[in-house]
């Protein structure tokens, strides 16, 4: 029973989510009780998750004899017969995830209550989605990962459709659901293949079985993948076949080209607050899933997935950045921007090794809270029945509300990857990892694409600072706590840019 305590954040979160669901039935939506309860739940969960960061190192030393298992697995504590793991990565990612969702709820509160969708359901769905993500982050078993993923996905489908009278939202939800289910199916199919090849659902066991299957023959000289191919090994074929489907499934969830078709439509159709949610926290969870499946489980096939991811990365950066230029809808533009950032994130994974994984983790975290700031500004502008969706809505923002304009400036510059913002360091570490792994061509492609990307980010800065506001637009007022939240968020983009070590240390520790 002792190790049940490891899952205390999730257990608390789920119980509280059920309580919020019931409370939501009886209270008046106007009073925002549900909002405050949800925030309190997240804060407590954050506290529980954060307290695990320190606890992990101790156990890492105790279990360090299992050198055969991957470096990261050594440092983890498991529960539920190995299906659930807590390690430095999971604790850090969960903490950031919760911080980001706290921001999401804060920024979307007024937006939701204005549109009368601030009912209990929204908050409950968010809480369930968070639980799903946390389970994904901690899943050490194919089934756990999949369960977490589905919990997240189902909550998201419902959230997109929350504006049920809106045609575009319904269309987006439908598209999201169909494509998302397809992706889940692919993933599940791939998992079943891997299960067939290894005889286990446990990622640790999969790793060992596959390693033994190939490494026995030629451990050093030619590398794992070649060793696996060298004899006709049915297990190797099965595992590799499964790998393809797993990569496709992950690419769908991340929104990497060519599996990105759902991203722009869903971003555009969903209520902006839901778009903000989809574009931030789930990327962290998807990153964790990628690490769990490809690195923890299938690192033996490293040479195979590295190439696949390199191509996905290159295509995402090219398509994301080029198509974003043509967008006039800010949400669609940010959708393509997300796709391009997924490309960069994958570049870090391609970089392989602790340096690459920690770089990708840093990228995912910083991307999430930078995008959060950008959407926060959009939500603050979408008031009084007006949706801020076209680029023109941002015109003259500096004169309407200087703080919002400055936060937008910082977010855009960070997304463009210009120092001294945090986005630059994210790109720096990722590029460094890719160059270190010999993927210099990918790095060069990445920097060229980031210059192209700079154009559409700068266009937003131009609109906000250089243009005059539209004749009838008024000053924008934001609630006190939202203002404070945005200010802190914007500040974080710069402060972590000057002192990136604050986050980088945790990312390095996760893969040390």
């Amino acid at each position: 029973m002792d190790n049940l305590a490891l899952a205390s954040p999730e257990i608390f979160l789920l119980s509280a989510a059920c309580a919020v669901l019931v409370v939501g039935l009886f209270v008046d939506a106007e009073r925002q009780l549900v909002y405050w309860l949800s925030q309190a739940t997240l804060v407590v969960t954050l506290f529980l998750a954060f307290s695990q960061i320190g606890g992990v190192d101790v156990s890492g030393a105790a279990a360090s004899e299992e050198a055969a298992v991957g470096e990261r697995l050594r440092a983890s504590m498991t529960a539920f017969t190995g299906a659930y793991a807590v390690d430095a990565m999971s604790a850090t990612l969960k903490s950031w995830l919760l911080v980001v969702v706290l921001g999401v709820l804060l920024y979307s509160r007024d937006y939701l209550s204005e549109r009368r969708i601030a009912r209990g359901e929204y908050y409950v769905l968010v809480l369930f989605a968070v639980a799903g993500m946390m389970i994904m982050v901690s899943g050490q078993n194919l089934l756990t990962v999949y369960l977490g993923l589905e919990l997240l996905a189902l909550s998201q489908y419902a959230m997109v459709a929350l504006l049920r009278d809106d045609g575009r939202a319904s269309e987006a939800a439908m598209k999201f659901f169909v494509l998302g289910s397809l992706a889940s199916g692919m993933l599940l199919y791939g998992m079943s293949m891997v299960y067939g090849a290894s005889g286990s659902l446990d990622l640790g066991v999969i790793r060992e079985t596959l390693a033994l299957g190939g490494l026995d023959r030629d451990p050093d000289a030619v590398g794992n993948a070649v060793a696996l191919t060298s004899g006709f090994d049915e297990r190797a074929v099965g595992a590799r076949f499964g790998l393809v489907f797993i990569v496709v499934g992950i690419a769908f969830k991340l929104g990497a080209v060519p599996f990105h078709m759902w991203v722009p439509d869903v971003y555009e159709g969903a209520p902006t607050s839901v778009t903000m949610f989809i574009s931030t926290a789930p990327k962290l969870a998807a990153f964790a899933m990628l690490i769990r499946l490809l690195v923890d489980g299938l690192e033996v096939l490293n040479a195979d997935w590295q190439q696949m991811l390199a191509i996905l990365s290159a295509l995402s950066m090219i398509v994301g950045n080029l198509v974003a230029i043509a967008q006039t809808n800010v949400k669609r533009m940010l959708a393509y921007s997300t796709i391009s950032h997924v490309g960069f994130l994958l570049m870090g994974i391609v970089g392989a090794g602790p340096a690459g994984y920690s770089a990708a983790m840093f990228y995912a975290i910083t991307y999430a809270f930078t995008t959060l700031a950008a959407f926060g500004v959009l939500l603050a502008l979408s008031r009084g029945g007006h949706e801020a969706v076209t680029l023109d809505d941002l015109a003259g923002l500096a004169r309407r509300n200087t703080l919002l304009a400055v936060v937008m400036l910082l977010a855009m510059i960070s997304l463009a990857g210009v120092p001294p913002t945090v986005g630059f360091y994210a790109k720096l570490v990722v590029l460094k990892a890719a160059i270190g792994a010999g993927y210099t061509w990918l790095a060069i492609l990445g920097v060229i694409m980031s210059v192209i990307g700079a154009f559409y980010y700068l266009r937003i800065v131009k609109l906000a600072f250089f243009d005059e506001p539209a004749p009838l637009s008024a000053e924008v007022a934001t609630a006190g706590d939202v203002t404070a939240g945005l200010a802190v968020n914007g500040l974080a983009v710069v402060v972590l840019g000057v002192f990136p070590g604050l986050v980088m240390t945790a990312c390095l520790a996760a893969f040390a």
Binding site: P420, L428, I435, R459
Partner: protein, 501 residues
Amino acid sequence: MNDSSLPLLSLVIWLPILAGIAITVLGDARSRALALGTAALTFLLSLPLYFGFDRDTAAMQFTEQATWLPGLGIEYALGIDGISMPLIVLTTLINVIVVVSAWEVITDRPAMYLGAFQIMTGLMVGVFSALDAILFYVFFEATLIPMFLIIGIWGGPRRVYATIKFFLYTFLGSVFMLVALIWMGREAGSFSVLDMHEMALGAEAQLLIFLAFLAAFAVKIPMWPVHTWLPDAHVEAPTAGSAVLAAIMLKMGGYGFLRFSLPITPDASARMDTFMIAISLIAIVYIGFVALVQRDMKKLIAYSSISHMGFVTLGIFIAFRLIANDDGAGVALGMEGAMVQMISHGFISAAMFLCVGVMYDRIHSREIADYGGVMNTMPLFGAFMIFFALANAGLPGTSGFVGEFMVILGSFRASFWIAFLAALTLILGAAYTLWMVKRVILGPVGNEKVAALTDIGRREFWMLGVLALFVLLVGVWPNLIGSVMHASVENLAEHISRPKY
């Protein structure tokens, strides 16, 4: 002085940056006084860098070192030598003048404007003093943001086009440098610039790295044919923006060549020297002709800047011809000429842009055709303008002459024809500047607007007077800046004459 307990360089970098942020936040009310105080204090703090400078060593001085990103081997390392120190003092001096120039002129959001200049000053000093490659890159790129906003918010009618062009052009150039720096950091095991100087590199690697650096610095300085962002940016930028752009930002390119390209890839630089000399000469001659036909004063000065920067690159790359001839003294001559030219151009171009600004503030036109006979109504200003124009044309006794003369002298040692083409600038430069002066300043009063002009006030007098003083001082006593750079330039000349593989 090196063991000075005060981290002077950090102070000169961070004081204006933090003060700039504070000025922006505190609002317009007291922004002018605060900005002037910041600028003056920064300048005073930078003076010990000059007076406490040890002229006998090429080693880095006033060094500071702290771990910044331990996991990545990136350090907060600062230090200056004879190549960077004069540029830092130039930066802080121009900053004071810029604040004075904006005093009454900028009425729209002055706090943001002056704050941006203070932040930019700190960042530019950072560029010249960073000894860690990534730190250098951070400062190098970060300077784009304030300049982007300055041109975009306070610029002329086509400011948006100009500022986005400026940003993307320079950003595209420098990202290749970033890839090269990361690659070298990985090979060398550290991002220290001095380690990179010493690291062995094969011919092919050097060539690729050289090209990556070239993309960054050629755009920045700018060299023909990647200069087209400069006239646009200059024309649209507000006066002070043009002055800083010409006086300091362009020098980052020249500094980059001296600090990165030459010492890190000497063999590739030697291989590419004919190409570099050729495009430098094109800049000097062709751009000189282009300047001749301009109708807009700012554009004319912008093209004149490009032409003058051609001298800088010529002086730098002529070195490899002289090394091949075993002419050690000539190598140092060319490079020192390039350095002096950079400093001198910093004074003269800033002054020229400020002069145009003075007229623009009164008549709101930069067209040469809208003026004529300004001398009649603004005699004091006319005298300054003619003086700076002569300095720009390279009149002996002004700083403009010294650098050009040294570079031409160095070129003569390498080849008569290179020197011949370079010396054409003495004719062309005189032609385009003096012709402009003739049409703007001299002659009868052109129209009633000119007739109604009032001469410069005390603020403008001091602003131009200080620059005139420095132009003269360097002109008659070049050793003022020459003496501090001898050791470093000779060390560099010696370093680049040794092959790296």
